[in-house]
């Protein structure tokens, strides 16, 4: 069920930083401090983990696809085959400093349960996702009258693994429900670049294609 959009983020793929790493992954990595223990849920072939380990982070991964796991382990990464929806409950409280869910939450069966587990297992959670509130998507639904089809969301509705898409606004509401505190939020524009200007949430929700949230447990 759970498939990371590694191979489908065509725009983000095009947007690579100076080291060749995907910009959305660089944004995530920048939120993690050196020496931290990190669990990357839905780690794909381990690109983010490799980036993190190159920065002195102690990283572990969970990945559903067998091919992804085997590629990751063959790279020397600590990757376990597993499912975010069912396997997070096996991880102890406070086992990690950061738990990352990159481009995966929209494909989980129970995003709220997954997020709650993340905040239980890690002191911080980092979630990145495609923003369903982007104006192009709104236009396709409002004017085209069909499910949106974009470079970030390339699937036809009947074969999409993305069963729980959300906008930035929706995600903020989930944070509220889970009692998560938003420590930092970064929006990425259509070219995968950071939207640097301090803008109101409605602006981000309308113009950013992806968002990355750093969360902590609320009090």
């Amino acid at each position: 069920m759970l498939m990371r959009l590694n191979h489908d983020l065509t725009m983000a793929e095009a947007a690579r930083g100076p080291g060749g790493a995907r910009i959305d992954l660089l944004v995530v990595a920048d939120m993690v401090r050196t020496g931290a223990r990190v669990l990357d849920v839905g780690c794909g072939d381990g690109e983010l983990l490799q980036l993190l380990e190159s920065r002195g982070v102690d990283g572990r991964g969970i990945e559903l696809s067998r091919a992804g796991v085997n590629q990751g382990v063959a790279k020397g990464l600590a990757v376990v085959q597993g499912d975010a929806d069912t396997d997070l409950e096996d991880y102890p409280n406070d086992g990690f400093d950061f738990v990352i869910l990159s481009q995966t939450i929209q494909a989980t069966r129970q995003p709220r349960v997954v997020l709650e587990h993340m905040l239980r297992i890690g002191r911080y959670a980092i979630v990145s996702f495609p923003n369903f509130g982007h104006w192009r998507i709104r236009r396709q639904i409002a004017l085209g009258g069909h499910m949106p089809h974009t470079h970030n969301l390339p699937y036809a509705w009947y074969e999409s693994p993305n069963i729980h898409l959300c906008s930035i606004r929706d995600f903020r509401q989930l944070c509220l429900v889970c009692g998560a505190k938003i420590e930092q939020a970064v929006a990425l524009n259509a070219w995968g670049g950071r939207m640097r200007l301090k803008m109101p949430w409605w602006f981000w929700n309308l113009f950013s294609e992806q968002a990355v949230f750093l969360l902590s447990r609320g009090s």
């Binding site: 085997n70 063959a74 085959q81």
Partner: protein, 396 residues
Amino acid sequence: MAEASATLDLADRRREADQPHSLVVRFSANNPLRLDAGLDISPLQIAYHTYGTLNADRSNAVLVCHALTGDQHVVNTHPVTGKPGWWETMVGPGRPIDTERYFVICPNVVGGCMGSSGPASTNLATGMPWGLDFPVITVRDMVRAQAMLLDHLGIDSLFAVAGGSMGGMQVLQWAASFPRRVFAALPIATSTRHSAQNIAFHEVGRQAVMADPDWRGGRYFAEGTNPRRGLAVARMGAHITYLSDAALHRKFGRRFQDRENPTFSFDADFQVESYLRYQGITFVERFDANSYLYLTRAMDYFDLAADYDGVVANAFRGAETRFCVISFTSDWLFPTPESRAIVHALNAAGARVSFAEITTDKGHDAFLLDEPELFAIVRGFLDGAAKARGLPSSRR
């Protein structure tokens, strides 16, 4: 099928048990192996093979633990059967466990019949093989004996311990008993405890051996008999559990052996029957029946959690060992959920663990066979661990 392999008569068997075709260390009587059963093995003998070169700071040693019917002849031609080593696809120059980088040690387990103390070894008190007077041993006893060997070799810390099946049990026991001596652990197609189904299969095998009149209550050496038929039946039954329905169908289907039609008799009409009979016959030529009883028993007794308040995770708490757990989709003897249980325990203990399930129809035996994905994973895992350990990178 291939031609019959070299045969061992009882005298050869005894010679191989006492003076094996490999390196041997004989511990003195005041350095006994203390057993879980509360007895000592003294003097203890361990037969082993090494490959590659130990580096100056003694940091590149890899212990390979063999499975139930394996032995120390991992890479070299087997001295009895003349066949290639049992893991030569995995271990050797340029192989995933690269003997150009690592110093590989493989001891014959205690209770075995290829030169380490076991029921076929001579009891100095009687001048005859121990037989059933040999104490019952456990996987932990095997590991303790291996630790004595490493002390003898002056190796304090292992770069890695690797093994499949019963070898994987030893790997887990190593990580639990001697966490500071194990940098990386590779338990393959194994479990933290032997399942009821597996104990049941083993019991059938043991009963087959003991039902053979030539077994003579385990005293066949003294009586000059050899329980060939019993051990062959045990092996035939066990061999089925090492394969899979799909693999048997792929290899043999319902095809007849050298005939067009059924003979309406109990000959080996089917290829699969002929194959199993061959497996049984060749096995008895190289293996000791009593050893088979002891080693299957050791596996049955294996239950890692039992020593740690029933919680497997407690066995690994605080461990800095990195683990790579591997299972195979068609392995129904040590199915993937058993490996997942290991992974869950390691996660709960906060250990650094990788886990991969490899798609294959070859069943439990897949860990011994040509599985490119297995090799890639083992190589990648060891490369990563070698980097972390500060070992020089591969020359290839």
